[in-house]
């Protein structure tokens, strides 16, 4: 058995943290694109598509992320792929993020006064044109603080991918604990690294919220 100094532990954890960051980025970007599609369906004109989007959101918000990861991991392998853990992790996190972002953004779209829809409709704009030129640019402003706030949940969500065997920060910490028998130090460091990743995001979200609120009351 080799000896680990505190620096060795920290160095290995920081190396593993790169994967946490990468997976968070992938999940957030893909989830954002997917969430936008779900949002379109959820606020669209077709009633059954709205219902489908609602069911999808309810399903992903009402079940544990861990179960979704298991289903992605074992479900994909049923279809015949030999699924690497990162693919299942990325897929499940994307679907999960998409559901939450779609619901957050729906609130933002609904905060736009109805007159905006009616005015653009009277200019013979189609649904996609209304969304693209009228609604989304206005909803965007309202949507930024809660979206940044949710990114914290995504970073924390990636910790669960360790359970299906994706080697990121949490998995690395379990492996290091097994090698060093120093769980207090290792998990303490891990908590601090997650904190260092998430806290700036939380603070940014709060600051943006305050800034936008002030602007709102200024009118």
């Amino acid at each position: 058995m080799s000896d680990f100094s505190t620096w060795d532990i920290l160095r290995n954890l920081l190396l593993a943290a790169r994967w946490t960051v990468l997976l968070s980025l992938v999940a957030f970007i893909c989830g954002g694109i997917f969430g936008l599609i779900v949002l379109m369906l959820r606020t669209g004109r077709s009633a059954w598509m709205r219902r489908c989007a609602m069911g999808y959101i309810e399903l992903f918000q009402g079940t544990p992320l861990l179960m979704q990861l298991f289903l992605a991991f074992f479900g994909l392998s049923l279809v015949g792929f030999n699924v690497p853990a990162w693919l299942a992790a990325g897929l499940a996190l994307t679907l999960w993020t998409g559901a939450f972002l779609a619901e957050i953004w729906r609130g933002c779209v609904e905060s736009i006064p109805k007159g905006q829809w009616e005015a653009s409709s009277s200019l013979a704009m189609g649904y996609l044109q209304q969304m693209r030129y009228i609604i989304l640019p206005q909803a965007f402003r309202v949507a930024i603080p809660p979206t940044v706030g949710f990114s914290v949940q995504v970073v924390k969500g990636t910790a669960l991918t360790s359970i299906i065997g994706f080697v990121e920060l949490s998995k690395a910490s379990t492996m290091l604990t097994n090698a060093t028998f120093a769980p207090f130090t290792v998990y303490g460091f891990v908590a601090l690294i997650y904190f260092a990743l998430c806290w700036p995001l939380s603070k940014t979200s709060q600051a943006l919220e305050r800034k936008l609120n002030v602007a709102h009351h200024g009118h």
């Binding site: 074992f74 120093a182 290792v186 939380s202």
Partner: protein, 223 residues
């Protein structure tokens, strides 16, 4: 080769599932009651408590809200024993859920407290109520009523998060799922059904909390 789904093989393990459901419900019932209690105390400390108490409470809230539940659980269950604190799996899971929910509910309840009209507190004081009485009767109850929907969703989120407690061998629903799929080798079907059970549990829990809200707060509150 086509895959044949076999959901029937899970029926043999119904008692395991029922036990898992019972433990998940036990976890969230205990965790929610104590967690909201912690939230109320910390929200009081942050809004009205002595000055020296506020920074540590803020630090606790920020630390819990910005680290994953899994890491909190591992730190409590694997890390604390090296300080001499030995916990059973169940104790570890409940403590982790309490400190996690406590931090989130502190923020939620504090938001409700801040929305209390100033005049109400002054009116309470002018009736010769002690500060604690004012907090208990004038501030807390309407505050809880205001934020009840947000608090309910947070409790549902923590219930779903309790799936992670299987990782320290608490025999809750996810643990039951892992156990069953290791016996019948029907991983997808098992997790599919257990996911459905979680969905039902979260719908049920939301309904229970809504009814509890009606029962606790029968009158409308001034907003």
């Amino acid at each position: 080769m086509a895959y044949h789904f076999d959901f029937g093989s899970i029926l043999d393990y119904t008692p395991v599932l029922v036990k898992g459901i019972a433990i998940t419900i036990e976890l969230i019932a205990i965790g929610a009651v104590i967690g909201v209690g912690v939230g109320i105390v910390c929200a009081w400390a942050r809004s009205f408590g002595p000055k020296w108490l506020r920074p540590p409470v803020s630090a606790y809230v920020e630390l819990m809200r910005n680290t994953p539940f899994l890491v909190q659980l591992f730190f409590i269950f694997f890390g604390l024993p090296s300080l001499g604190v030995k916990l059973t799996e169940m104790q570890g899971a409940i403590i982790a859920m309490v400190v996690n929910l406590g931090a989130y509910s502190t923020e939620i309840i504090r938001a409700g407290i801040q929305a209390t009209p100033r005049g109400l507190i002054e009116a309470g004081a002018s009736l010769a109520m002690t500060p604690l009485q004012v907090f208990r009767y004038v501030i807390l109850k309407p505050a809880l009523q205001r934020i009840w929907p947000a608090l309910s969703s947070q409790i549902v989120i923590v219930m779903l998060g309790s799936a992670v407690c299987s990782q320290i061998a608490v025999e809750e629903l996810t643990f039951a799922a892992n156990f069953i799929q290791s016996r019948n080798f029907r991983a997808f079907e098992t997790y599919f059904i257990v996911t459905g059970i979680y969905l039902l549990l979260s719908i049920l829990l939301r309904q229970v909390l809504r009814s509890l809200g009606w029962w606790l707060f029968p009158k409308k509150v001034a907003r």
